[in-house]
Symmetry: C2
Subunit: 330 residues, 2 copies
DNA sequence: CTGAAAGCGCTTACAG
DNA sequence: CTGAAAGCGCTTACAG
C-alpha cells in the first residue's frame, strides 16, 4: 500500500537504516548514496509514517484543543492564533467541540490522552471545573495544559485570565460618568467568566450607585431569548437608562430591541457590550465595548505552550488587563 | 512512563495477548481473568496508545480539515457539524488554517498524508485549484476527499456545490421585481465561489436589465476597505439603487456606509447579502440575504465522508439549491 | 481459554 | 560510511 523505508532500501540496495538517515538528514551518509536515495524518495513520493515515527520517538507532535462550540466566534480567533503558531513549529491540532455538558468532557480528555497529545488547550472559562481537573490528573497528569480565560490549581495547569471583574467595574463607572442613574446587567449562560462579570457589576454598583437597586438578569443564547429578555427587563424596570450585556452579540440583539421600542441609544438608554468584537464595530449605533483582550489571551496561550514544550518556565496564572473601547452607544 | 499492556500483563500474570483481548472486548477470555485484568486496567488508568494501535490496524481514525482561516464564520459552522458528526463515530479532526497562499497548501496536504488521515475535507471553493488537485494525486490518491462548495475532477474527490450562480440571478430578479433600475454588485476576494456569484449577477443583468450598464466592483476584506469601496461606488454611480454584496458581512458594512451617507434602505438603495448569516438577522435594517445553504453543504459533507469511509457509493458532484430570505433591506 | 511469535513502519545505539 | 538488531506499544493468526 504505502511506500515504506524498506521499499526504498530494496530499490537502492541499501539497508533501511541508511534510508532513515537520509530521510532525517543525518550526517554520515556517502554523498552518492544519499543522492541516489533522495531521488528514489522523490520519485516514489515517499512520506514517513508519523505514527510509526511517533511510537519510537515517544512524541506525537500533536496538541489537543477543547472548545464547547467552535461557532462561538469569541474563541475562534484564539484557535486561529494557536493553530497558526503551533503549526509553524511542526505541531498539528486536534480539535473537539465538547458541548456544554460536563459529563462528556472526560471522554474527550481520555481520547486525547490515547493519541498522546503533547499539550492541551482549553478554550474558555467553562473548563475551570472539578470534572476537568480530575480528568486531567487521571489521564494527562504530565503534559502542559493551558486554560484560556480560566484557571484551576494543578501541577501541570497554566491559566490566563482576562480581568473582566475590574473591567466591568470600569464599565459601571463609565455609565456613572455619563450621568446614568439606573444601570442594569444582562448575561447569558453562567460560566465562571460571566460570573466574574456579574460580580464586577455588583461591585461597580456598590461603588458608584450604593443606594440603587441591583438589576441583574439572565437569558439564553438564542436571538429571541435575548430579545425577549431585554424587552422584559425594560418593562419590569422602565427607569433603566443603561445596560451592560455580558457579550457584544447580546448587546447587538439588545440594540434591535431598543430600536423596536423606540428608545434612543445612548440618549434614553446607554449600552455596553463585552468582547470588542465585530458586532460592536458593525452595529448601528456602534457599540461601546469592554475589550477583554481575548486576542492577547490566545497569543499568550500559544506562546506559553511553545515555551512549556521546550522546557521553559511559565507563570502558572496570569491576569490580563481589559480596556473599554468607547463608541456611539454611551 | 506510560502504562502499557505489558505492565498490566505482568501484574496479572498473563500474556499481553490476553490483556489486549480484554481491552478490545474480545470473546474467549475466562471471566475471572477478564475481571482481574479489568480491575488492573482501571486502577492503573490504562489508556491504549492509538499510534501503536493505528500502526498495526492500518488506520488512524483521524480526518483532516483544511480551511484558509477558521475565523471566517461562514465555514466555522461547517467545521462544527463535520467535527460533531465524525467525532460521534470515533474520528478525530486535524484542522489547519492554510492561509490563502497556494504555495503552502501542498505542505499541509503532505503533512496530513504523513499522519495517515483517512479522509480530507476542504472547506471552501478556494481549494478548487490545480495545486490542490496535484497535491492530492501525489500524496492522498486513495482516501476520500470532500470539497465544500467546490469541485474538481479526480478519482477520489467529491464535490458539494451551492448553486450560487442561479441564486444571484434570482437576487437580480428580486431587485427588478422591487422596481429597482440600477443594481450593482460588490465582491471581496476572487474565489471560484465569488466568481460564480459575479457570473450570476451578469447573467441576471442580461436577463432583467439588458440595456443597463454593468456595475461590478471588488474590494478587500477589511472593514475600511469595504466601507470605502461602497462609498466610492456610490460616488462614481450616484444612480445606484440596489447593491448585491458577495457576503452578508460586506453588506453589513455597506449598511453603515449608506446610513452615514443618509441614504435610506430600502427606499433609496435596496441591499442584498449572501450567506443568510447572523449579520443579516442582526443588522439594522435586517438584511435580505441569499441563503447558500452552507449548513446543508456541511451536513452533507459530513454524511458523505461517513458513507465513503464505510465503503458506500456517493455522488461525485452535488449541486445544492439556494433560497432568498427576504427581510427589510429590499 | 491462553501464550509465543511475527509484524505494523520507524529510529538508533552498536559493530564493523 | 553502513547494516543487523532491538525496540516503541499494539494486534492477531496460529498452536496448544
Amino acid at each position: 500500500m504505502q511506500v515504506t523505508i524498506y521499499d526504498i532500501a530494496k530499490m537502492a540496495n541499501v539497508s533501511a537504516s541508511t534510508v532513515s538517515r537520509v530521510v532525517n538528514n543525518k550526517q554520515n551518509v556517502n554523498p552518492k548514496t544519499r543522492a541516489k536515495i533522495m531521488k528514489l524518495l522523490a520519485e516514489n513520493n515517499y512520506v514517513p509514517n508519523e505514527a510509526a515515527r511517533g511510537l519510537v520517538m515517544q512524541s506525537s507532535h500533536m496538541i489537543g484543543i477543547l472548545i464547547t462550540d467552535i461557532r462561538t466566534t469569541q474563541h475562534t480567533d484564539g484557535i486561529y492564533y494557536i493553530e497558526r503558531e503551533l503549526s509553524a513549529h511542526g505541531y498539528s491540532c486536534l480539535i473537539h467541540n465538547t458541548g456544554r455538558d460536563e459529563s462528556n468532557w472526560i471522554n474527550y480528555i481520555q481520547l486525547l490522552s490515547q493519541r498522546k497529545i503533547e499539550a492541551l488547550v482549553l478554550m474558555g472559562s467553562i473548563y475551570q471545573s472539578d470534572v476537568v481537573r480530575e480528568a486531567i490528573s487521571l489521564y494527562l497528569p504530565s503534559i502542559p495544559v493551558v486554560i484560556c480565560n480560566g484557571y484551576f490549581n494543578a501541577p501541570n495547569v497554566y491559566g490566563l485570565v482576562s480581568d473582566e471583574y475590574n473591567g466591568v467595574i470600569e464599565c459601571v463607572e463609565l455609565l456613572a460618568k455619563k450621568g446614568r442613574k439606573h444601570p442594569s446587567f444582562l448575561m447569558n449562560q453562567t460560566t465562571p467568566s460571566n460570573e466574574q462579570k456579574k460580580l464586577g457589576f455588583e461591585a461597580g454598583m456598590a461603588r458608584c450607585f450604593p443606594n440603587e437597586e441591583l438589576i441583574v438578569q439572565e437569558c439564553g443564547n438564542g436571538f429571541t431569548e435575548i430579545y425577549d429578555a431585554t424587552i422584559r427587563m425594560l418593562e419590569q424596570f422602565p427607569k433603566i437608562d443603561g445596560i451592560i450585556y455580558s457579550e457584544d452579540m447580546l448587546a447587538a440583539v439588545g440594540l434591535r430591541a431598543l430600536a423596536d421600542r423606540n428608545l434612543r441609544v445612548p440618549e434614553d438608554v446607554a449600552v455596553i457590550g463585552i468582547n470588542n468584537s465585530d458586532y460592536a464595530k458593525l452595529s448601528i449605533p456602534t457599540l461601546t465595548s469592554l475589550d477583554n483582550m481575548l486576542y492577547d489571551v490566545s497569543m499568550t496561550a500559544a506562546r506559553n505552550i511553545l515555551a512549556l514544550l521546550s522546557g521553559q518556565r511559565v507563570s502558572k496564572k496570569m491576569l490580563i488587563c481589559t480596556e473599554i473601547e468607547e463608541r456611539q452607544s454611551t
